[in-house]
């Protein structure tokens, strides 16, 4: 064992000195240090904000789906989703046993049909939804969406009409609308129903064509007693993927189809995938730029300081200690940048969590078409901030490998030759 081998790797007093050296080195070229730190701050803010927004959007979408008209999982007669006719209907009794599944809390039944709505000389094709007005009131918050008139509070007769349709057909409360349609198995369906309220479904698309009545009334209108087109499965937890598989295993798939929200909303699913990939691509670009700029800094620093490193090693400073001084400089800058970046990012992310951003463009259209809110609150999940802080710190460590190798290979007399 040599004298060297017996030395503790690093003792406290020199470490304070090494730290002091690194710290003072940061201030030798203030402009470069400011640029380095600001680029890290910018990267942290940008990455954290962007990911918080994306994850917030997906999270909100999922939350929306639970309380949406669609639900996580629906059961139909096999083929209904591709051919939405009333003949593709089934009896609720066929599936009541699904309530035995431990994750299924309720089943709500609907008839989703189409009809021609007429008032005086005016007629318009509408989507006629028959649903259990009591059961779905709370789940969908339908009563809160009534802007004029009232919800089916103590009654099950009458209809709710979308405000878009109201404006197009100049409808008023108490007016009666006549529906004409083809009923179950080719029968004629017709009836007259009084308007008890107007409902704002938040999206123009839905408001223009939606009429809601109680399920029993719809069954009567379409002459299909005890039949439904749709059953929405209420779930106790968000584990819809597994539940769907188990439900599929229990039903007769020749008779019935079991679809999840993904399958019913392929467009949305595609948008999320594109959005996620786009996000990753932007992050990749961002981190490439950061890596190159940090590498540039490290390269310049190492070249500039190599004479000094040569002197330090010549007079007897162990290479490991020189390495610590050298990499501490960029690590300290990175820590400063990361902390400042997180400090700036937090209020921004918090602000957009409290005052969510309104989606626009294609995303807004698709989202609203399915009755979701086009608002995205940012996600406050701390793991987003931590993971990006971690990535940047990791990049700093990686680019410092250059410094480490350079110093390991440094020969003092060569470095000190001018």
């Amino acid at each position: 064992m040599s004298f060297w081998d017996k030395q503790p790797y690093i003792t406290f007093v020199p470490f304070v000195m090494l730290f002091k050296l690194a710290w003072r080195n940061i201030f030798r070229n203030k402009r470069r240090s400011i640029i380095t730190v600001s680029s890290i701050i910018f990267a942290v803010i940008f990455a954290v904000f962007m990911r918080s927004l994306q994850y917030g959007a997906y999270g909100n979408m999922l939350k929306n789906i639970v309380s949406s008209y669609l639900g996580y999982i629906q059961v139909h007669k096999q083929g209904f989703w591709t051919e939405k006719t009333l003949d593709n209907s089934f009896s609720p009794e066929d599936i009541t046993y699904l309530l035995d599944h431990e994750n299924v809390s309720y089943l709500s039944y609907r008839i989703e049909g189409f009809a021609l709505a007429s008032k005086d000389d005016n007629s318009k094709p509408v989507a006629l939804l028959g649903l259990d007005v009591q059961q779905e009131k709370n789940r969908l918050g339908l009563d809160k969406k009534v802007v004029q008139g009232e919800y089916f509070t103590n009654r099950k007769t009458g209809i709710l009409v979308g405000i878009g349709l109201r404006d197009i057909m100049s409808l008023r409360l108490g007016d009666s609308i006549i529906f004409l349609s083809q009923g179950y198995q080719g029968s004629m369906a017709s009836g007259s129903y009084p308007i008890i309220g107007f409902i704002d479904l938040k999206t123009p698309e839905l408001n223009k064509r939606t009429v809601i009545m109680d399920l029993a009334q719809a069954q009567e209108l379409f002459a299909m007693p005890n039949m439904v087109t749709t059953a929405v499965l209420g779930l106790k937890n968000d584990n819809w993927e597994e539940t769907q598989q188990e439900v599929i295993a229990r039903v007769d798939t020749n008779q019935l189809e079991v679809l999840n929200w993904n399958e019913m909303l392929p467009e949305l699913q595609q948008l999320i995938a594109v959005d996620k990939a786009g996000g990753l691509f932007v992050l990749f670009i961002l981190y490439s730029i950061i890596t190159f700029s940090l590498f540039g800094t490290v390269l310049m620093l190492t070249e500039e300081r190599s004479f000094e490193y040569g002197v330090l090693i010549a007079v007897g400073m162990a290479k490991n200690k020189v390495i610590i001084v050298a990499i501490l400089e960029t690590i300290l800058m990175a820590i400063t940048g990361i902390i400042a970046g997180l400090a700036f990012a937090f209020p921004v992310v918090l602000y957009f969590n409290i005052y969510p951003i309104n989606l626009s463009g294609q995303m807004q259209e698709v989202v609203e078409k399915y009755g979701f809110e086009a608002l995205i609150p940012t996600s406050l999940d701390p793991s987003i901030a931590l993971s990006h802080a971690g990535i940047i710190f990791f990049i700093v460590l990686v680019v410092n490998m250059y410094t480490i190798v350079k110093i390991k290979r440094l020969e003092p007399i060569k470095a000190m030759r001018r």
């Binding site: 040599s2 060297w4 000195m17 050296l21 004479f307 000094e308 007079v315 007897g316 290479k319 000190m416």
Partner: protein
């Protein structure tokens, strides 16, 4: 005591072969004040680097005290330099971000010396080189001569066996040269510190107690005054 035996140094980059040293034998005893002189390219720097463990000889041995430094690993050599050899280079010796006091203290920190010892020695050395009123100045706030005096103080701080100085006065004006020489000479006289330095400057040569002249990598003359 430094004992250099049969040292040769050949630089060979594949294209050009330079025999910088061709069989150097020399012994330097404690307390000497020795100048190595010779024309440019004669091998002064090469010899000092080999004695200081900054470069390795192609052949031959360098024994410092009891240690044959040709047998040390890279890390052992660095540590040997820290504890046994003081260096003064031509210029830019000091750490730019540290004050005069911190520069002198630096090697003692690496040696894990106590704070009391560091303070006492730093003060004493800066006084010895006449810079007691400049202790908080950074290198770029001092003249070249003052910087070289700090470098001498730093070289002494680690209590080395001897100090090697390759052309320490090359970048100094004559007043600073004389001043630095005075200080080195006094330290040699009063503290019995060994100095080995190379120089071109006749005024510096005149102050040396021993003058080793090399030419073409060989010792031409060795004169003790």
């Amino acid at each position: 005591m430094i004992k250099v035996t049969h040292v040769t140094k050949t630089y060979d980059d594949g294209k050009v072969r330079v025999e910088a040293l061709r069989g150097i034998n020399v012994e330097i005893k404690n307390g000497e004040f020795t100048a190595i002189v010779g024309p440019s390219g004669s091998g002064k720097t090469t010899l000092l680097n080999i004695i200081g463990g900054l470069d390795t000889p192609t052949e031959g041995n360098v024994i410092i005290g009891e240690t044959n430094i040709a047998h040390l690993s890279e890390n052992q050599l660095i540590d040997f330099r820290l504890n046994h050899i003081g260096f003064v280079f031509q210029s830019y010796n000091l750490i730019p971000v540290l004050t005069a006091k911190e520069n002198v203290e630096f090697l003692m920190l690496l040696q894990n010396k106590s704070e009391a010892e560091r303070d006492e020695r730093t003060t004493k050395l800066l006084k010895a080189v006449g810079l007691e009123d400049q202790i908080n100045k950074k290198p770029n706030e001092m003249s070249g001569g003052q910087q070289q005096r700090v470098a001498v103080a730093r070289a002494l701080a680690s209590k080395p066996d001897f100090i090697l100085a390759d052309e320490p006065t090359a970048n100094l004006d004559s007043a600073s040269t004389a001043n630095l020489l005075d200080i080195m000479y006094r330290l040699n006289q009063e503290e019995n510190m060994t100095f080995v330095f190379s120089t071109h400057d006749q005024r510096v040569i005149d102050r040396a107690k021993r003058v080793i002249t090399i030419e073409d990598g060989k010792i031409l003359s060795d004169e003790i005054r």
